[in-house]
Symmetry: C2
Subunit: 319 residues, 2 copies
């Protein structure tokens, strides 16, 4: 995979994305917690994408990608493969523009997620739970429908859309020393790194990743692409590999990647629920764990954290 | 029990309480949910006391009661019996004024609650889990310490403090048709009814109560005090009887009381968690259940709901 940076979204494209999605998505609140400030010794600012439409930041990128399509290209709808929040987000965003959405999902997806995609009007095609089966089935669906593929993260409109979360946070809190986000495929991370580079260059961007799915950390430290071969983490949004667009942006604009254990993810998730009284999903707990487990020295610093989503199966909690 | 109204807190006393507690408690946010609006057909405004200090509205009354004490009376601290949020709230409020707090708790209280009271510096005396044992032990503690009793709800400063939640909500949303709150001992309900009477007299105040702890509903409909003899509800904050101060205020200023089943409480709690991504405790779910189970016709109306608290034992969820 190429590590050179080729035409990533510009500051203007991120601002265009923000204007494009504004009528549809929430400007999510930023909340603080005296309890978590005390525990970490820092001043924390939580950007609550768990309160975003469809319960995750994915609504931003999907809306931007769907509404950036030329009218002439939209006739056959949009398509993707995803077992997670992007499937819901794309179905929802397509419905806003009255387009069909075709979603390829592994046949072991949870009923909660299948019902959510159906609830937003997505047309589901099931496949075996392997990357090969997902990609092959998606190719078949696209051949049959003529729909346009919207990749969950390796798409410049998706990256520009996800970048708007950090842009809002940095507008509200321009003095952040650090900005922490989780990394899976790198859509949120690369967008965050670009927004920070353009709008608050002194802020350091740190990614947090599960130890048991540390392909981004490996790729970052070795400066060459390492795929996620056997990710084994409860943070189900972070099991994917970096992409052709996201990896070079991360190499150029992210300051560091830290990894956290499964136990610390569950502890951090429970801490946020108990002290802050908000639901966050496992992936959101990963950057919190980096702070609460002392993976970074943030004493006396202002730290932004993007809580990426709040879609949780309440029948299967990690404690 | 007397049903005549004797000098309930005035509008001025509620405003004094608001000014007194302002440096210490949160002006909690009001949030909306397009999903719950769709389900109920109403426009709902949730006053989030789950985001209050100590995780419940009880911080308001306790702070008002502690700071309303004359300096000369505070030397020996404050005391109460409570197995719930008031125990935490009083310990916390007393610590703000550097006073000792003595809390009598039943010996079957959950470790979570015991640790929370200790965490706020409360001195706990355990007793058998009966009302008689609690009252007798409290008398002994007060005899030994000289502390001043702060009753969880049957205290005019407590009522005035709890009234500030509705006062804030009505200030933010002056056009509410209905205001819903749960009822246990009636501190929150009587305060809410007074604030509404003074500040938004056209708004109708409706209390929601578990069917399996329907003493307030019985007292209200029979217009004579009926104690809570065998309350058997998961809404552990709502198992208490009305008080000498709270009952007459409720008789004079509450428009109706509706009751809801245990199943509907659990369903409403889960619905709020899943759709709104916030933690509420069982007692908070009771007024939500009144709406989602169609106990009231609120179609097209503006409805305020006070979410009373968010203190939940995550190891024991009702589903």
């Amino acid at each position: 995979m190429d590590t050179e940076l080729h035409n990533p979204p510009t500051a203007e494209e991120i601002l265009q994305a923000a204007a494009r999605i504004r009528p549809y998505v929430n400007r999510t609140p930023v909340i603080t917690s005296s309890s978590l400030n005390r525990i970490t010794g820092a001043e924390l600012f939580f950007k609550c994408e768990n309160f975003q439409k469809v319960g995750a930041f994915k609504a931003r990128g999907a809306t931007n990608a769907v509404f950036a399509l030329e009218e002439s290209m939209t006739g056959n709808g949009v398509a993707t493969h995803s077992s997670g929040n992007h499937a819901q987000a794309l179905s929802w965003a397509a419905s806003l523009r009255n387009l069909p959405a075709y979603v390829v999902m592994p046949d072991n997806s949870s009923p909660v997620k299948i019902n959510a995609v159906r609830g937003y009007g997505g047309n589901i095609t099931f496949c075996k739970p392997t990357l090969e089966a997902r990609e092959e089935t998606l190719r078949d669906v696209i051949a049959a429908t003529g729909a346009i593929e919207i990749h969950p993260y390796d798409n410049l409109h998706i990256i520009a859309g996800q970048a708007t979360a950090a842009a809002e946070l940095l507008e509200d809190y321009p003095d952040l020393d650090y900005l922490l986000v989780p990394v899976g495929g790198g859509g949120l991370l690369s967008g965050t790194a670009l927004s920070t580079h353009y709008f608050s260059p002194r802020t350091r961007v740190i990614a947090a990743e599960p130890e048991q799915a540390n392909d981004a950390w490996q790729s970052f430290t070795q400066r060459k692409f390492v795929p996620a071969l056997h990710p084994d983490t409860m943070a189900d949004g972070l099991r994917t590999s970096l992409g052709n667009y996201t990896f070079p942006i991360i190499l150029h604009h992210v300051n560091n990647i830290v990894t956290v254990s499964e136990e610390s993810i569950a502890r951090a998730m429970r801490l946020v629920w108990e002290r802050m009284k908000i639901l966050i999903e496992t992936s959101s707990a990963v950057p919190v764990a980096a702070l609460t487990e002392g993976k970074m020295d943030v004493k006396g610093k202002q730290v932004g954290i993007i809580l990426s989503g709040g879609n949780v199966d309440l029948d299967h909690l990690p404690w």
